[in-house]
Symmetry: C2
Subunit: 207 residues, 2 copies
């Protein structure tokens, strides 16, 4: 016989249901275009219940940004711990990228989509998080051969180039139809070629 969940547990479940409903509904038309009532319906609650969890759709959007970037941070921490990444940054990071994006398709889709066009609040939150992410990746890159003698501004630029490519490739993986391993391989291959070109630049760069 199952025990009834505590009030707190139940509230947390509903909150999750609302977050997931919003993420799911955003997929087709973008977060900015979905309504509070649609989210509530999808989450299985009455519209007014929404207000027990968020003051407004904007606040829900910010919560989604936060949740999505948790995923991204996990990804970079994984990369930091993996010795392969330092030995072979291109193949390893392209592979990690495609794998993690596939596992968290909806979070990446959300970030890529809302980055340029969410509400002002959501857009700014994403820009801020992306800057943070670039700085964190710069720490990893700084340990690479050739880059260890660069100025920190230069390392950050390189990090920015990588992240922007990641965002772009993530968009592609997200838009990729399911069950098309050939498309997936092609994207990985293209991402690798681009990163290889950038890394070649690293080797000749002088600040």
């Amino acid at each position: 016989m199952s025990v009834a969940p505590s009030r707190q547990e139940q509230k947390e479940r509903t909150r999750e249901a609302i977050l997931n409903a919003a993420l799911d509904l955003s997929r087709d038309h973008g977060f900015a275009q979905i309504s509070l009532r649609q989210v509530a319906r999808q989450a299985g609650v009455v519209p007014t219940a929404f207000y027990r969890h968020f003051d407004s759709m904007d606040e829900l959007g910010l919560a989604l940004v936060e949740r999505s970037f948790l995923t991204l941070r996990t990804m970079i921490r994984e990369a930091q711990g993996d010795p392969d990444v330092l030995d072979n940054i291109i193949e390893a990071s392209a592979e990690v990228l495609v794998r993690v994006v596939k596992q968290n398709r909806m979070h990446f889709a959300f970030v890529a989509r809302e980055r340029a066009s969410g509400s002002a609040a959501v857009r700014e939150a994403i820009q801020r998080e992306l800057e943070l992410f670039i700085s964190e990746l710069a720490v990893v890159l700084a340990r690479l051969p050739h880059l260890d003698r660069w100025s920190s501004d230069d390392v950050k630029m390189a990090s920015g180039l990588f992240v922007r490519n990641m965002v772009y490739r993530a968009e592609q993986v997200v838009q990729m139809p399911e069950g098309r391993p050939d498309r997936e391989e092609e994207i990985t291959r293209k991402a690798q070629r681009e990163m290889r070109l950038i890394v070649l630049g690293f080797e000749k760069w002088e600040s």
Copy 2:
């Protein structure tokens, strides 16, 4: 004494007014979030008049994509005719980029914003146009030293890297507050450093 415009002229003016109204209103919240009635109001016509020019907001969006890419094509044609660009691709193209984007701020803003998040129809139209733009730029790049012996796939990859950087920097110029020449200079400088890094990669690339 001024002559009354022909019926056709007047219709064209109203059409322009609607296009400009939509472009203007999109700036703050994105095209997908503005309503037919808002556009009509801003254009100075009654909502029903909208239907004399476009079947739906989606069709208006596609017209805006087309208009915006006319600007982009003009830009690349300019670059093709300018001998400086071939001599010194980095400085010249960064300068052309910032100048053209500033002159056509709203068109670039529209493309950058709606690329990831417009309606499906608008999004696909932009992706198609961007692919075309990358191909056209590839023709210019193919004439550069080092690249003239690359495979066409490789040149296209390089072109894609440039265009993606352009789109990104264009987003920044668009979001830049007016009358901040220091910010503008900083963006130009960053774009130049990035392109220089990529060009360094060109020199060592082997397909």
